[in-house]
């Protein structure tokens, strides 16, 4: 008598449910190249350039794999004029002041060391100002914007916001010098935890705003096409 309660053995090859077969298979594929890069050439005249578009060999601490630096910005070089003038005055001060009897009360050995100390302090002054200018940067990548600030000798502050979180971008450029040398401040309002990002005294602010706009549009297009998660 056959046992009607014993179920039939399943076949060896498991079949996928019908609904699973209809779903597209998501394989790990490289991120498609953005249209943004296609019609742009790298503008990176020298390593001290304050406006480096698509710079080569530039990276930063929190860069993700596959993330590309689109724009590296520093304060306009003209903003360094004040401390550079002071530095040049400091360099020539000992030779100019040697005609005046300022250090005559000191013995020769003390006078020699005093002049050396003066040059040492001048070097530190130059180094601190240069480092502050060179490393206080604003970075725009194809995914986010980053503001790197070094406030004093050992304190740094890095802020970033994703491009799709940008809500509003504006810039201001007032005054004769700023208009002449084409630099200004770009203010970015975001929907992330840090509501505002400021790119201060950067060259070509209108181009930066335009570029950010293009990146935002591209991000929106990608979101619509479902290319990003």
């Amino acid at each position: 008598m056959p046992d009607i309660f014993i179920s039939h053995k399943k076949e060896d090859s498991p079949q996928k449910p019908e609904i699973m077969e209809q779903l597209p298979i998501h394989e790990e594929s490289p991120r498609p190249e953005r249209n943004f890069y296609k019609d742009r050439k790298s503008v990176h005249r020298h390593p001290l350039s304050p406006y480096a578009l698509l710079p080569a060999n530039v990276s930063f601490e929190t860069k993700n794999d596959g993330e590309k630096v689109v724009l590296l910005l520093r304060r306009h070089p003209i903003t360094n004029l004040g401390w550079l003038i002071v530095f040049v005055i400091m360099l020539f001060a000992p030779s100019v002041l040697s005609g005046f009897p300022l250090l005559d009360f000191l013995p020769d050995n003390f006078r020699f060391i005093a002049v050396l100390s003066w040059y040492m302090i001048s070097t530190a002054y130059f180094l601190e100002n240069f480092l502050s200018w060179f490393f206080n940067v604003n970075i725009i990548t194809d995914e986010r914007i980053i503001d790197v600030d070094f406030y004093n000798l050992i304190y740094k502050h890095v802020t970033d916001a994703e491009t799709n979180k940008i809500q509003d971008v504006s810039y201001n450029m007032g005054g004769v010098i700023r208009t002449m040398f084409d630099y200004g401040d770009v203010l970015i309002q975001t929907a992330s935890e840090i509501p505002n990002l400021e790119f201060l005294a950067i060259p070509h602010p209108s181009q930066v705003v335009k570029l950010l706009q293009e990146l935002r549009i591209e991000e929106q297009v990608e979101a619509l096409e479902g290319r990003i998660s």
Binding site: P47, L48, N57, V58, S59, F60, E61, P107, N109, F110, F112, I113, L116, S117, M120, T123, A124, L127, E128, L131, F134, F135, V137, V148, F150, L153, I154, K156, V158
Partner: protein, 74 residues
Amino acid sequence: MDNIPLLGINVWVAAKYFAIVGYLVYLVFALVVVKQTAMMVGTLEVPIGRFIKYLSYAHLLFAIGVLALAFMVL
């Protein structure tokens, strides 16, 4: 005439020690600059990062040199 009244210490000997203490403090500052530069170069990696590091080392060597000279000359 170069002695400090009451203490009887030579002014220039006292000045020498003050100067050396000052240079030691400066040496610490130069070390902080080296550390700071290393941190900055780590944060932003650029082709001339190594050159900037060497610049901070040169500044440190300068500070050490002046300290050594102060010991010898003063």
